[in-house]
Amino acid sequence: MSKSIHKPGFVLGDALDIPTFKVLKQDGTLYKGAQEPEFDKEMALKLYDDLVFIRVLDERMVGAQRQGRIPFYLASLGEEAASVGSAGALKPQDMIFAQYREQGALRHRGFSVDQFMDQCFSNERDLGKGRQMPIHYGSKALNYNTISSPLGTQIPQAAGYAYGQKLDGIDACTICYFGEGAASEGDFHAGLNMAAVLKCPTIFLCRNNGYAISTPSAEQFSGDGVASRGIGYGIATLRVDGNDLLAVYAATVAARAYALEHNAPVLIEAMSYRLGAHSTSDDPTGYRSKDEEAQWAKKDPILRYKHWLTNKGWWSDEQEKTLYAEHRSNILAAMKAAEKRPVPTIDHLITDVYDEPTPHLRQQLKQLKAHMRKYPDQYPKTSGRLDA
């Protein structure tokens, strides 16, 4: 029962005054009163390796798209710490539902450079059998639920997945990533409310990077960001500096413990900035200033984390050069190999629509193959392998 008042008095959005959790300053030193998370040097370096891999991968793949070698790409420039730091705080058995800008989490789980390339080049080794656009990754082995383009759809799905984990009584939860733009979808409302009411151990991690394509967050919502809404749903909520890997890591460790202890969801709003274009089909110069981008470039999450590693004596300029060079050469080699691999055979056009192809799907494939035999030159990628 809420307390009574006897004159109209509005509660305004800023009444919550939600603070931002920060651990690391840009120079790699800690804020006063902040604590380092409890991970060792090996883990610290693994996380740095993930960050650098993703930055190099994104750079190379944007280049590959510009050269016309892949149809599309979507980089996570400036937001690498949000996905790598949160994934690092989870257990391998936790399920990940991603939006599309969380390749860092997948890398952390162990998705190989070849697997990234096979998906982007839609070749016969792609786990998704070449059916979806580049960056729509997924892996059952790594508990990374396959990405789909429709925004926000994964949010109620993550609640349902976590409910199933709770029913099974296992030590596992679900994390669900999405951007602040996707949080305007009805599925955000549906998913958070269901997770709260049905008590699902789900971590909702919103990457608030300031823009949904060209739309600035001021045109996305007028309340106190996405975090304020979690409180309205009765969800434990935390806002964190998304460019601070140590803070994201610590926030996610706490969120996982809370979710499993209380069988309840947690919302984390990670404040960051989308340093790159939305995708290779977008040019941000039409809607924001170079000056704004330069301000945020100074807050580079990878650089900040590197300063911390260096301050601890765990990292040197020599190692830095070697690491970048190694990733560049591995990615380049994998790209060349993936590009040469053939696309999946035409039979995979009809598999997996159902558990078994229906008779009418078999009939349609049969008719298609007959047509392809008549006009093989029209379908050069697959016509040579019709009976494979």
């Binding site: 998704g128 396959t146 799905q157 349902g160 997945y161 599925d187 558990d355």
Partner: protein, 325 residues
């Protein structure tokens, strides 16, 4: 064998499924302690606990989104949408997510354990939003199965098959028959095949095809035609997707004539798909154009419900016209 109405048969199927497999979970609006607005989920929460039968917040996109996640986790999710008319907020989850989950992931993930139950159809003075028959919207979506039972025996057997099928199924329940249709239903566990039509009456002159509640109308029209000396073959399609092309085409090749009837509006209704396929596969056998007796291309009306519905007289007239072509 027991006498059950359609609701009791559905309730019996849900209990059977939940007893046999503890991965089966039922949820939706008001399905918990209350047992559903039609009582299809009566006593499930009592028998199996709140964790396996529960109310959700009032959000159709949430119910199906949640169900997709739960099914991809490995549970058998049975989601109820209170009326078929309110399935549209979940259209995106069903069409873009449910239907494509297995295909888009290369079978890394699937929601084969999902069944969506929803009451459909008119004849209960339900107006625009308690009367619709939305099956054709979903029939345009590869990856889904769509099933419609016509009586209690079918309801139990087809629902059990739908729950256990390793593909997502939308199970449309003819709510006009929930209490009106009563029949013998085996107490034991049984399944009826999905994708297979059933010939309920053999005949030589004209094939009459329908599904769900419309089967009652079709059967009465066939009886009336018989008095005029017309011998109809009546087929219950049972599954809209995948549909039993072979059974329908074989019947039309025998009779040379086809009347299809459904409650949903004519234009782009599933009758159009059937008519096109039959003219392609039985062209040389057809003695008359394929006739469609359907709802009008208007929102489902309240005061003119009787006039809107493809009733027995309209179906009978279509049979006579087809015979006299």
């Amino acid at each position: 064998m027991s006498q059950m109405n359609l609701l009791q048969a559905i309730n019996n199927a849900l209990i059977t499924a939940m007893e046999k497999d503890d991965k089966v979970v039922c949820f939706g609006e008001d399905v918990g302690h209350f047992g559903g607005v039609f009582r299809a989920t009566s006593h499930l929460q009592e028998k199996f606990g709140r964790a396996r039968c529960f109310n959700t917040p009032l959000t159709e996109q949430g119910i199906i989104g949640f169900a997709n996640g739960l099914a991809s986790q490995g549970h058998k999710a049975i989601a109820e949408i209170q009326f078929g008319d309110y399935i549209f907020p979940a259209f995106d989850q069903i069409v873009n997510e449910t239907a494509k989950f297995r295909y888009r992931s290369g079978n890394e993930f699937n929601v084969g354990g999902l069944t969506i139950r929803t009451p459909y159809g008119g004849g209960i003075r339900g107006g625009h939003y308690h009367s619709q028959s939305p099956e054709a919207y979903f029939a345009h979506t590869p990856g889904l199965k769509i099933v419609v039972p016509r009586n209690p025996h079918q309801a139990k057997g087809l629902l059990l098959a739908s729950i256990r099928d390793d593909n997502p199924v939308i199970f449309f329940e003819p709510k006009r028959l929930y209490r009106a249709a009563v029949g013998d239903v085996p107490e034991e566990d049984y399944e009826l095949p999905i994708g297979v039509a059933e010939t309920v009456r053999e005949g030589q002159d004209c094939t009459l095809l329908a599904w769900g509640a419309q089967m009652e109308v079709a059967s009465k029209a066939a009886e009336r035609a018989e008095k005029e000396g017309i011998d109809c073959e009546v087929i219950d399609l049972r599954s809209i997707l995948p549909w039993d092309v072979d059974a329908v085409v074989a019947s039309v090749k025998k009779t040379g004539r086809l009347v299809v009837t459904h409650e949903a509006p004519l234009t782009n209704g599933f009758g159009a798909e059937i008519a096109a396929t039959v003219q392609e596969q039985a062209f040389l056998s057809l003695e008359a154009p394929v006739s469609r007796v359907c709802g009008l291309d208007v929102p489902y009306p309240l005061s003119h419900e009787a006039e809107y519905m493809p009733d027995e007289t309209k179906v009978f007239e279509a049979i006579v016209a087809t015979m006299n072509y």
